[in-house]
Symmetry: C2
Subunit: 414 residues, 2 copies
């Protein structure tokens, strides 16, 4: 395999034109952290500037009724097909942690149960929030130990399930491992135990097809700033299966979730649909970025995105085997592409200084303490030649010992 093979793959790539839809002022930077913060879309930049100058500047408060008020549901409907949901089941609102809090709290109240099952590869913020939710309900977390690389399975979770468990809440793709959980089997297992399944899609939305409706998933949350390219801290989303919506009460009933918010009714009446899970006024500028990013993913199509994503991670692992496996690295992600999301993790005892050396050489990965480097491959703008070149820089940094010029740990580094 040569770099020309990578170039040939780029030339045959049906999604290659999508790179032109992004604002890329630094074409010499190989950006492998789109799973942490995606690049800006050109349409997002344009929409946000228009919102600044025209909608806010000229339209002023009138833009709420003209343009903004329905956006959280409209953008939710744009996102729905990307995650296998139906119109009216997805809302853009708040941040992932807040949405997780709202849905997990509502789910425990609706089931009359107190405990939550999850696994130790879940994102730490999810652990914190779910622990608080379970304790507030008089229960506690039950945490499965998942295999470090493979992610959680039914066998890990099943022994923890009983009649006190109201919610099973997992990450669809592990934030460190990139492992893709079996949403179908795990959701069915939760249902068999009388629990609701609540999935965090932050690392799968926009890169892995999600089949919420097909698997009868109850609840989901996720962010829009990774593969959906919504912008730093762009508002998150939440999904509630349509027939559950009227049975769940948000613990934070704000005016944006009221049936008639401009009536300024002193009594709360939830909106009939998914909007009942909204709380306060959404941040419109950040919302416009999410809208543009989600639109672009919808246009490209999640199946085409997944096809290229698998090609990219397979290609990366082939290059890893050829160039990095002998240099003290261990692969931290599943080799089976059916069990892998959009990023690949590698472990190395010197992961931190290696990551810093890469950044100084215009290859941007993501470091996760203590020893993990994540390589996020964003199908809408990552090229196969970039993967080739990045691995060469990676190997050079280790072989040459260049990483030894950097601090050994992030302590004291800001």
């Amino acid at each position: 395999m040569t770099r020309d093979d990578a170039l040939a793959t780029d030339n045959a790539d049906l999604l290659s034109e999508y790179r032109d839809h992004f604002h890329i002022p630094d074409a010499d930077v190989i950006y492998l952290d789109g799973n942490s913060l995606g690049r800006p879309t050109l349409e997002g930049v344009e929409r946000i500037e228009n919102t600044l100058h025209e909608e806010w500047g000229r339209g002023l408060v009138r833009s709420w009724r003209r343009e903004w008020i329905g956006l959280p549901e409209q953008i939710g409907d744009l996102l729905a097909p990307i995650i296998g949901a139906s119109p009216g089941e997805v809302l853009i609102a708040d941040q992932t942690s807040v949405n997780l809090f709202k849905l997990a709290s509502a789910a425990l109240a609706a089931t009359g149960r107190t405990d939550i099952v999850l696994d130790d590869s879940n994102f730490p913020s999810d652990l914190y929030v779910l622990d608080a939710v379970a304790r507030a309900a008089g229960g506690h977390l039950r945490i499965a130990s998942a295999d470090r690389t493979a992610g959680p399975t039914v066998d890990d979770l099943d022994p923890l399930l009983d009649e006190h468990v109201g919610v099973v809440s997992l990450s669809h793709v592990g934030f460190k491992t990139g492992a893709l959980a079996d949403m179908h089997e795990i959701t069915a297992t939760a249902h068999n135990a009388g629990a609701l399944a609540l999935w965090d899609l932050s690392h799968s939305a926009g890169v892995v097809p999600v089949d919420l409706n097909a698997y009868n998933v109850d609840l989901a949350v996720g962010c829009t700033y990774k593969y959906l390219n919504g912008g730093p801290g762009a508002p998150a989303f939440l999904y509630v299966r349509w027939d559950l919506q009227e049975h769940l009460a948000t613990p934070i009933p704000g005016w944006f979730g009221h049936a008639d918010m401009f009536a300024f009714d002193p009594t709360y009446s939830p909106a009939p649909g998914i909007r009942r899970f909204a709380a306060g006024t959404p941040p419109i500028l950040s919302l416009r970025g999410a809208q543009a990013g989600i639109s672009l993913s919808a246009e490209a199509g999640i199946e085409a995105i997944r096809t290229k994503s698998v090609q990219l991670t397979e290609f990366l692992i082939a290059r890893y085997d050829a160039r990095l496996a002998g240099l003290g690295f261990a692969l931290g992600s599943p080799r089976n592409p059916d069990r892998r999301g959009g990023h690949v993790s590698v472990h190395h005892p010197h992961a931190y200084p290696i990551a810093q050396a890469l950044i100084d050489r215009n290859v941007i990965p993501d470091f996760r303490a203590p020893d993990t480097i994540r390589l996020g491959l964003a199908p809408l703008y990552t090229a196969f030649t970039e993967v080739w070149d990045a691995v060469e820089v990676f190997a050079d940094v280790v072989e040459s010992g260049a990483y030894r010029d950097y601090p050994a740990t992030p302590e004291g580094v800001t």
Copy 2:
């Protein structure tokens, strides 16, 4: 009094230069709804564009450590002097409803009490959220009936206080009436009953000096998109008195509130200061707007802003008496400027069509069902001649009967 008097006042206005700091593409529009959504600052437009193109576009994920991670506390410290707080007591986070939920829940848990006292002039979203918080604690709301124009007083609230009340939560300035509550007396009364005082500053922050520290206020929340000109749905703020911070636990412990968020510790340890009340990733683009708006208010100085604000509302009421009082209107705000915030409300049986007729004539007020028109006067960009001209248009719309060309109610109007 003539229009020349208004012009002379504009010419003597020490804050008049601040209008040049705003993006005003429509100088013919008289904007009297800055208490709902303030105008964009030029610095905000510039900062947001720079964040789009440079920090996000070029800096990518690196901008979190370089630029963004400390913003919620840094901007909180910028806001602190405007509301009489100290550095380390204010955080920009989430939306007002979510912050109210967090602080009220934490306050009930800390006091071991179950009930919340408020009044019926409070913002409806606050009623909904506080009702949910009290019910979740096993208690209920106790709602005082405040006089429609004067706002809540100690006499309204005192009979409702006893050893079950953990929180007294009021709006500092009433959203309909513009009435300014006596924060000093009411906070002291809450403390005498062993309750914590939680103020919603949405309609006072940036227009009325707030003395949180001087009055020993425990907790406060508010938005940044009104007089602080942060932009539509810009993130809100929360204040927790420094010596209370370690005694309160947020019900939504997310990773942005963790002592060491990048350690990805599976166990939650709250950050030592105000950051412990953060939850998820903040929306950076919207946050940059808030930063610019707050900076501008801080530069102008809240005492100078208040001086002009009182001049503006006094001038408006004088013009109201001269031109509108005989046309079927009733004044809905206190006449005593010491008991009034930054906006003035008027009632009229035909308030809705009158507001629509005004908007068509480039005078933008705010309608609040069923019969209220709010006139928000933003000292940083509202001119006395604008107030004069707006009242003339107002009078003309009523005297000429032009308002009869508009729908009588908002029903069916979007």
